[in-house]
């Protein structure tokens, strides 16, 4: 099992750091899945996470100048690692002016991702900073726990409002309540509501637009039959929503959410070369 990768381009490094920073804000520990062409940051929905789950996919070619991976076995050419993304974010934080960043999986005393940053210096040789990030290697028999989640059979799918606006609304609401209700309909309308003993606040968004989904068998019946005015709603933990919005450092190309009434809200944030899916279950 081997993994070596190298980033030389500063813009790619910056971009990769931003992705890692976003992941670090969403999960304390997560799984990194490496395949020949992609990297995945996965958080599976355990009780410990409060039932949230995350699936983030990147094409390695968009970030790395060199990328070599050999999985556990030829027919299972993948590597699954458990790591603390905050460590990786910290390692990359001070690498922003680096000449090159190399990442390698090593096992000197325990499995680690060794991030070696080559920094420019006034002397003849570069400065080298290495960060050994301890990782856990996840054995093959547990790989099934980390499969890509299916898009749920949602009631409403809607594009999100401008994230910055949504974030500032949610941040203020967070001070008043622990839970928030997201409701939306097929008319491009979304409401964010909080309700406490003393106060209830609702923010209304209009003209957001609903993404056209075609299901695999070409049948759109369930979505078409729905009354466009009828709201699908879910009450979710406001902190989780705030974390998701706060973690976004760049405006996504597309941002939408799928609501399964009273069950789960599925957020999809798409950038050019990174896709992030985040599931927040509804509170009882």
């Amino acid at each position: 099992m081997r993994f070596r990768a190298k980033i030389v381009d500063l813009a790619c490094l910056n971009h990769f750091s931003r992705v890692i920073n976003t992941i670090a804000k969403l999960a304390k520990t997560c799984t990194l899945r490496l395949t020949v062409s992609k990297l995945y940051f996965i958080l599976s929905d355990k009780v410990a996470n409060g039932g949230v789950s995350m699936w983030c996919e990147l094409c390695q070619g968009n970030f790395f100048d060199e990328f070599q991976m050999e999985g556990v076995a030829a027919e299972h050419n993948e590597i699954y690692l458990e790591l603390v993304p905050e460590n990786l974010a910290r390692a990359l934080k001070t690498a922003q002016s680096a000449k090159a960043v190399k990442i390698k999986l090593t096992n000197k005393h325990c499995p680690c991702l060794r991030v070696a940053v080559e920094l420019p210096s006034l002397s003849s040789s570069s400065r080298i900073v290495t960060h050994d990030i301890p990782v856990g290697v996840i054995p093959r028999r547990l790989w099934n726990d980390f499969r890509e989640p299916n898009v749920p059979d949602f009631d409403v799918s809607i594009y999100l409002p401008v994230l910055k606006t949504m974030k500032s609304v949610v941040e203020r609401m967070k001070n008043l309540s622990n839970s928030i209700v997201i409701e939306a309909n097929l008319n491009g309308e979304m409401n964010l509501k909080i309700e406490t003993d003393l106060v209830s606040v609702t923010t209304h968004f209009k003209d957001l637009g609903n993404p056209p989904w075609t299901s695999e068998d070409g049948c759109q019946s369930s979505a078409q039959d729905r009354d466009p005015e009828s709201m699908a709603e879910a009450r979710i933990d406001i902190k989780k929503l705030q974390q998701l919005l706060a973690g976004q450092q760049v405006n996504p190309t597309k941002a939408l959410c799928n609501i399964v009434s009273k069950r789960i809200v599925h957020f999809i944030l798409l950038h050019e070369d990174v896709s992030l899916q985040y599931f927040i279950p509804a509170l009882a």
């Binding site: 099992m1 081997r2 556990v72 603390v84 460590n87 910290r90 390692a91 001070t94 390698k104 999986l105 090593t106 096992n107 000197k108 005393h109 325990c110 499995p111 060794r114 070696a116 210096s121 006034l122 002397s123 003849s124 040789s125 400065r127 080298i128 900073v129 290495t130 960060h131 050994d132 990030i133 301890p134 856990g136 290697v137 996840i138 054995p139 093959r140 028999r141 547990l142």
Partner: protein, 386 residues
Amino acid sequence: MKCIVAGGNVKVLGRAVHSLSRIGDEIYLEPTESGLSLRTVNSSRSAFASFLFAPLFFQLYEAGGAPPDRELFRCKVLMKSFLGVFRSLPSLEKTVGKCLILLKPQASRLVVQLHCKYGVTKTHNLAFQECERLQAVFDTQRCTSSLCAPARVLAEAVVHFPPTLAEVTLGTGPGGKISLRNYVEDEAEPSKTMVTELWLAKDEFEMVAVAPGSQITFCLKEFRGLLTFAEASNLPLTIHYDAPGRPAIFTLADAVLEVHLVLATLSDPESDLQPPTANGVSHLPAPSEDFTDDLESYMIAMETSAYEEASGVPPSPTFPLHTPHPAESDPEEEEEEEEEEEEGAVPGTPPHKKFRSLFFGSVLTPGGPGLAPTQEVLAEDSEEES
């Protein structure tokens, strides 16, 4: 005592106070013939700093003390109070033209007066306590290794470590390279802690005269305070160190200022016998392409044991837990200090049991050295000479 600091030096004084405030809770003012010395020590007695401002630093300098006995008055002030005067460095720079420090005999307050723009005068009357001389015992001549680097290089090195990191290990490697590595406590699980290591080439330093294979571990928090001062003043910083356990001395100097920071270092008596560990000891390889990544055998071990158990992972060797040295000699001083230390655990400073505050022996005994016979003397007590 009366002294006046003018112009740009007010900010230097302010920065010095900020630097001292990172270390101790009380600032000791000691006017001497060779200048005004500002000193502090941390609560666990593992860090001591002194800034000596020569008479030329001041527009006016009167150490005080009426002839003929010329006894110079020492006092200590709460760091918080003193720092309060110099709290905002930008405003010191912009608005303060002169700073007067005045301590009249029989006075009940130390006066620090800032003369600012537009005729504004801010007078601070600070409560003080008389005190004994605060002096750490150290001698840079006795240190086997020293390095000197521009402050900027060290500041750039330290930035890679998290601000909360307590201790850092400075070491030497092949090719004369110097390394800085975060120190991982014995108690922390080595397989869960991120280890960051930085290598600096010899030519980044102005001077390197180190014993090969040497290394010391010291508290980063207290060092950062001095480093900020050094960077702002653009002076090169010299580090003198000896064997692990002996204090490390950081110095800065220019024509009118002499700064010393003395930090206790982690002692590791078994370092010679210790096989290379995750924290390395003598022969750290410089980073190269040939890492051993023998994961195949590891994976085989993993497949046959439960994932949750760490048993599949080969245990990493760790620093040996060494028992604290029994209170040496000088029973009253050392024991008292140790008892004090046990009570006052200060986050960010090294655990008391591992650091020997050798250099604070019995110097604080009023009226003279009185070193007990078996106490290690790092430098002759100079009090007798003056």
